[in-house]
C-alpha cells in the first residue's frame, strides 16, 4: 500500500532468521510452525504498526498467500492466538480490542473443531468463519480503494487551479460565510472551555463493572443462541493472571446484570462447573 502519509506500514518486510531485537513481527510469521519454538527468544512482537485486530488478521491472512476467499480461517485463528500468546508471554500490553478478538477466535476455533450438535441452532462455525472472511475482504477492498483514490491526479499536485483569480463568484445570498464545521467546532470548543473539570481519573488496574459489561455486550453481538462456556475464553485472553480475581468478579457481576435485563441467560451444572451463557429473551436490551 502506497500512501503519502508517514503512517506505519505493516508491509511484509522479509527478515533474516534470528533477526535482532526490535525486528518487526513479520519475521515471526515467516517461520515454520515447527521452528517457532526455538526462535521464540529472538522474536519480538510489535503491534505498533497495526490498526487493530482486523488489520493484524488481514496481515496474517496475506501471509497465507492465497485469495482471501480461500483462506483457512482455522489456520488464521490459530496464528492469531499464537501471536497473542507470545505477546502476553513477553508482557506486551495489548489493547482490549485484540483480546476480545482473541476470545472470539478461540470460540470460533472450538465451533469449527467440535461437530455441530443436533439441537444446536446457533450459527455454525462455518458461518462465523464466512463472516470473518467477508470482513477481511471488505477491509482489504477499502484499503485498495484508498490507494487508488490517493494516486489519482490531485489538485495542487498534478492539476492546478487558476493562479490569479479575478473574482470568486458567489452564489450565497448571505453576506456571511461559515460552514457547518466552523459552527459545530466553535460550539464544541466553547463548551469544552467552559466545562473545566478537576476530575482526573486514575488508570484502572482492575476491571470496572462497566468494562466487563461493555466487553460482554460486544461479544454477545448478534449471536449466542446456544449455551456457550464463553467465560473460559474471556478469562484466558482478557486478563493477566494477577487480575484474574477482579476480572472474574466484574465479569460475573456484569453477567448477572445482563441476566436481570433479559439480555443473557446463565447456566451452571454444579459447583465449580463451567458457566454457560446464552442470549436472553431481550438481547437488544433497552438501548443505551
Amino acid at each position: 500500500m502506497d500512501v503519502t502519509g508517514p503512517g506505519p506500514k505493516p508491509q511484509k518486510r522479509p527478515r533474516a532468521a534470528g533477526a535482532p531485537l526490535g525486528a518487526p513481527m513479520d519475521g515471526l510469521w515467516q517461520e515454520d510452525a515447527g521452528e517457532r519454538a526455538s526462535h521464540e527468544e529472538s522474536l519480538v512482537v510489535d503491534l505498533a504498526g497495526f490498526e487493530g485486530p482486523l488489520d493484524l488478521l488481514l496481515h496474517l491472512a496475506r501471509t497465507q498467500k492465497v485469495d482471501l476467499t480461500r483462506i483457512s480461517v482455522l489456520a488464521l485463528a490459530e496464528q492469531y492466538l499464537q501471536f497473542i500468546d507470545s505477546a502476553r508471554r513477553i508482557r506486551i500490553e495489548l489493547a482490549a480490542d485484540y483480546l476480545v478478538m482473541a476470545a472470539w477466535l478461540a470460540y470460533l476455533k472450538s465451533r469449527l473443531l467440535i461437530p455441530k450438535q443436533a439441537k444446536d441452532d446457533g450459527p455454525s462455525g462455518e458461518e462465523m468463519a464466512a463472516s470473518l472472511a467477508f470482513r477481511l475482504k471488505r477491509l482489504e477492498a477499502m484499503r485498495d480503494a484508498a490507494t487508488r483514490l490517493v494516486n489519482r491526479n490531485r489538485l495542487g499536485r498534478d492539476v492546478f487551479v487558476r493562479g490569479m483569480p479575478e473574482h470568486i463568484p458567489t452564489e450565497r445570498h448571505s453576506a456571511f460565510e461559515a460552514s457547518l464545521y466552523d459552527l459545530v467546532s466553535a460550539y464544541a470548543a466553547l463548551r469544552q472551555r467552559q466545562a473545566i473539570t478537576q476530575v482526573t481519573i486514575e488508570k484502572r488496574t482492575v476491571w470496572s463493572l462497566a468494562d466487563a459489561r461493555e466487553i460482554l455486550a460486544h461479544l454477545i453481538g448478534g449471536g449466542f443462541d446456544d449455551w456457550t462456556a464463553l467465560d473460559r475464553f474471556l478469562l484466558r485472553y482478557l486478563t493477566d493472571p494477577a487480575e484474574r480475581t477482579t476480572a472474574i468478579a466484574s465479569a460475573f457481576a456484569a453477567t448477572l446484570e445482563l441476566v436481570r435485563e433479559g439480555r443473557l441467560e446463565l447456566r451452571q451444572d454444579g459447583a465449580f462447573q463451567p458457566i454457560y451463557l446464552r442470549r436472553g429473551p431481550r438481547p437488544e436490551g433497552d438501548g443505551d
Binding site: V3, P123, L139, I168, E171, Y181, A210, G221, A249, L256
Partner: protein, 238 residues
C-alpha cells in the same frame, strides 16, 4: 477560436441562425469568463443566470468543454459545478518545490475512502469496517480539510449522525461524480458496499473507549461482598 465554431454554423445562414450563432458565441464567452475568473468550481445555475436569454447552459458548458479538450487547460465538471484546471499531463512543468498537497496518514486515508464509498455512513459503521476505533482527530482532520461533512442523521435508534464527502473532495481528487470513484461498480457487484454481513455471528465490534462510563468506580471485592455476590454458596440469580 470561437470564430471557427461560428463559421461552421454560418455557411447557409438565414437571419435566424445568424442571431442564434451570435447568441451562442456570446454565451460561450460569458461562461468562459465566469469560470476562468474563479479558482473554485462555479455552479451551472450561477452561470445560467448570467447567460443570454434562451441559451441552454448545459449545452454551452459541454461545447466549452469540447473546445478545451486536449488543451493545456481543461474545463472539468465537478458535480453540478464547472472549473478550469491544468491538464494533468503537464504537472511536471507547473509543479514547484513549494507546492505541498495535504498529507494523509494511513488511518485518515482509510476513513476517507470508507466515507466516500459507503456514504452516508455513521461512525459506528466506519469502525465496524476497520475493526478499530477511530482515533481522535481523524474525522476532525478530514472535516477541517473540507473533504468530509456531516450529512444528516440515520433513521435508526439513537439517530446517529452520518458522514459524507463534499464537492471539494470531488474537486481535489478529480472526480466528476461520486459514481466515478475508482472501482465503485466492482465493489458494489461484489457486495462489499452493502453493509450487510452474511448471516451468522457478528465479529466483535471495536470497543469504544469513550463509551465506557467515566463516572463509574471500579467494582471492589468489598462491593461484591456487600452485594452478596461473593458470599460462599451464594445462589445464582437466574
Amino acid at each position: 477560436m470561437t470564430e471557427t465554431v461560428d463559421d461552421s454554423l454560418l455557411p447557409e445562414a438565414t437571419g435566424e441562425t445568424v442571431a442564434e450563432a451570435r447568441r451562442m458565441r456570446e454565451a460561450l464567452r460569458i461562461a468562459e469568463a465566469l469560470v476562468f475568473a474563479s479558482a473554485g468550481p462555479v455552479s451551472e445555475s450561477y452561470i445560467a443566470d448570467r447567460l443570454p436569454r434562451g441559451v441552454e447552459a448545459h449545452a454551452v458548458m459541454r461545447q466549452l468543454r469540447a473546445l478545451y479538450a486536449g488543451r493545456g487547460v481543461n474545463l472539468v465538471q465537478v458535480h453540478d459545478h464547472w472549473a478550469f484546471r491544468t491538464a494533468p499531463d503537464l504537472s511536471f512543468v507547473i509543479r514547484t518545490d513549494e507546492m505541498e498537497v495535504r498529507k494523509l496518514s494511513r488511518a485518515q486515508l482509510e476513513v476517507l475512502a470508507i466515507i466516500a464509498y459507503h456514504q452516508p455512513v455513521t461512525r459506528a459503521e466506519i469502525e465496524d469496517i476497520r475493526g478499530v476505533q477511530t482515533s481522535k482527530g481523524t474525522l476532525d482532520v478530514l472535516m477541517e480539510a473540507g473533504w468530509v461533512r456531516f450529512r444528516g442523521r440515520r433513521r435508526s435508534p439513537g439517530r446517529p449522525v452520518t458522514f459524507g464527502t463534499t464537492r471539494d473532495f470531488l474537486d481535489h481528487f478529480g472526480l466528476e461524480e461520486l459514481r466515478d470513484l475508482p472501482g465503485l461498480e466492482e465493489l458494489k457487484g461484489a457486495g462489499l458496499l452493502s453493509g450487510r454481513i452474511p448471516p451468522g455471528f457478528q465479529v466483535p465490534l471495536p470497543l469504544g473507549e469513550d463509551e465506557l462510563a467515566e463516572d463509574e468506580d471500579p467494582i471492589t471485592q468489598l462491593d461484591l461482598e456487600e452485594l452478596g455476590l461473593l458470599t460462599p454458596g451464594g445462589k445464582e440469580d437466574e
